[in-house]
Symmetry: none
Subunit: 216 residues, 4 copies
DNA sequence: TATGAATGAGACTTCATTCAT
DNA sequence: AATGAATGAAGTCTCATTCAT
């Protein structure tokens, strides 16, 4: 720690502090995994992007897989946590909350590198079972539970009609996952797809389908 | 002559099967591409699966990319052609035709290795632009045109209400693509997803949304 | 032989006669070896050029090396034999004979595919010792002996001054070998080299150097 | 710590030698290219010769072609540069300079592995056009220009008679190139060729031919 | 005799991971 | 803590030669 004393208090631009290393690596890893996918990502590229050497990656992360899990933990899970929190503090209608959550997801996930992680995971799950299990348990199922609970609440509150909340949660989430996938897949070759329109129509259908007053 | 006797009935180092080889290789390639994806597929594995040597693959296909394109031409395009033909010979309602087409797709694509090709392509398009363009032009766009025309016909015939046929085609196809993706992605880790139910509900929503008499 | 009877006398264009096969193969081999070299020549290419299958090559020639040796025997050795014959029947001066021999060599070797064989052999001798020995003994040394004898004769006849006939033979031959090499090497990239001028100047120097009356 | 003791003094799997590696690899490459030629050189062999793994080659050189170009730059070009420098600092006669340059070339090129590069290039130019162009521009043409300028200077100084300096440069260089070729071609099979005598006679002829006072 | 499908060793090259420094 | 040189297994693709037909 001795050598850090001179850094105390001062922001030392020319020598990044050790504490920042993992974050820098994770940011680089997010960017690279997101654009190239898991298998096609070269750790040399991550290292270069992070401004460290390849060896340094292994000081902080045991392996490529561990690095990916860390990326998920660092960037994906907080998104879910934030949504959960927001739900807990929500006082308005569930319907409005869900609209807002989708909007935020579009801004914070779909339009950022995070959507690349979703796509990557779906794309390569079958080749990396460990990653698949990790992602399924920590991201997919948790999100599904969260949305399902929201819907249950909506039903209890009389906003939504009786329905299978698990299934409804999937109906809500599937178009989101799909748009993330498409965004990083054929969309660049096929500019005719308007993701926002697609999502807003789906939201519309979803809400109409689940609302108690849908046929009034 | 003595040494030839031992060959009688024995396993030869190889057997001549000009006619069947390409089909055998394509079948093996379909299986492997479908389950592993493009990049992760090793030609050695395809060769083993086909019961030939690595070199033999190159007698029939110029490269890994060419092999994949041949798989698409051999297995995917005929599916589309068949659907197009069926549409041409259709005498009943467009609505019933679309129901039938979806059913057939479930049996012939979703529940076979073919869906793995769809998933593979979506998963790896960004890493293999040549393949992406090929697939987009020959499969995606052709299918979209086909379905869009079907919907236009339905509108002309008064079955469907006025709507953007391109968008409607996407609405019809997207859940199919998604289910193919999921099937080969996290579904094996997440047995709670009933694809058939998902698809039938989506079909229901789609048809209700597009029918002229839906809310009359 | 039975099936050849029907061919008797008639030139049957649509079915080349067995007797012609080896010659066709040799011609194709000459062409390919000459332009590509030994190692870079693919037997598939030779076969295609000859209009036969790869397997057929092995009916007539044991291996790639044997095929090359046959090319030398078929096309190169006769050139030497012809020169030897011509020398035997020569009645004029040795000097004029050598001029004529060089002229003929330019027409029949340098400007044909045969020069490619010379170059090829020089280029790849070290990688194919068997070929090297074969070529050295059957072509190089025989030619050297021939020219040396010619020079000895010239000395005996009083046309040439006393000198080491072996060395003089080399002095005569080296520029020929060099021009054959260059022709198939950097000449195509370096069009400023006029081979004919180079050779005629060398011939001039050689004859002046060896003539009895050179300083008269 | 116990397990580290065994490493003391032991043969490590590898040793870190950033500084020396490129030189070691280049030396190994020179040796191998020189004796086997470009196509027949296996990178595995170069690696073994250099005492490194195949992968290590790629840390320093992008490809086999790049490695060869580096060999030329490292070993061939400095020879030319040295000769050019020597010419610049020369105070004596051009004739004596050219004699000295040839002598040095015999020692530093002909009798070393460098002559193998000359031969290799001539031998394989037609199969590797990129290499051919590179070599022609950087070695052949530069050398020709250098010698031609020397001859022009000799003419200006009154040492040499009026003549085409380009052609004379070729006349000077051609026997050198030829002896390099022969050295690595049939010479090992044909010990009767005395390269030094060949070269000295050619030098003699060349100087006599070009000297102003040759026949005075 | 003729074929050409089939082989398999071996070429160049890539990259996650290790470890001496 | 940090480096980055080094590894080596594994990938795609080539081609002389073999042999069932």
């Amino acid at each position: 720690m001795g050598e850090l004393i001179s850094n105390t208090g001062a922001t030392c631009r020319w020598r990044r502090r050790k504490e920042e290393r993992p974050a820098e690596i994770l940011a680089a890893a997010l960017k690279t995994f997101s654009s190239k996918g898991f298998a096609a990502t070269k750790l040399a590229e991550v290292a270069k992007e992070a401004g460290v050497s390849k060896g340094t990656l292994y000081l902080y992360f045991e392996s490529k897989e561990a690095l990916f899990k860390a990326v998920v933990s660092e960037f994906v899970l907080p998104q879910i946590a934030r949504a959960e929190e927001q739900a807990q503090q929500n006082t308005g209608s569930i319907k409005l909350l869900m609209i807002k959550l989708l909007e935020q997801w579009q801004i914070n996930v779909l339009e950022t590198e995070l959507s690349g992680i979703t796509k990557m995971m779906i794309a390569e799950a079958s080749n990396f079972p460990d990653l698949a299990t990790f992602y399924l348990e920590n991201v997919i199922q948790r999100t599904r539970r969260f949305v399902a609970n929201l819907i249950k609440l909506g039903i209890e509150k009389g906003e939504f009609r009786q329905c299978d909340s698990d299934y409804a949660a999937r109906a809500f989430l599937t178009p989101m996952v799909f748009s993330a996938i498409w965004q990083h897949s054929l969309a660049p070759f096929d500019d005719s797809y308007d993701m926002n329109e697609y999502l807003s129509i789906h939201l519309d259908i979803f809400l109409r389908g689940i609302s108690k007053d849908s046929f009034e």
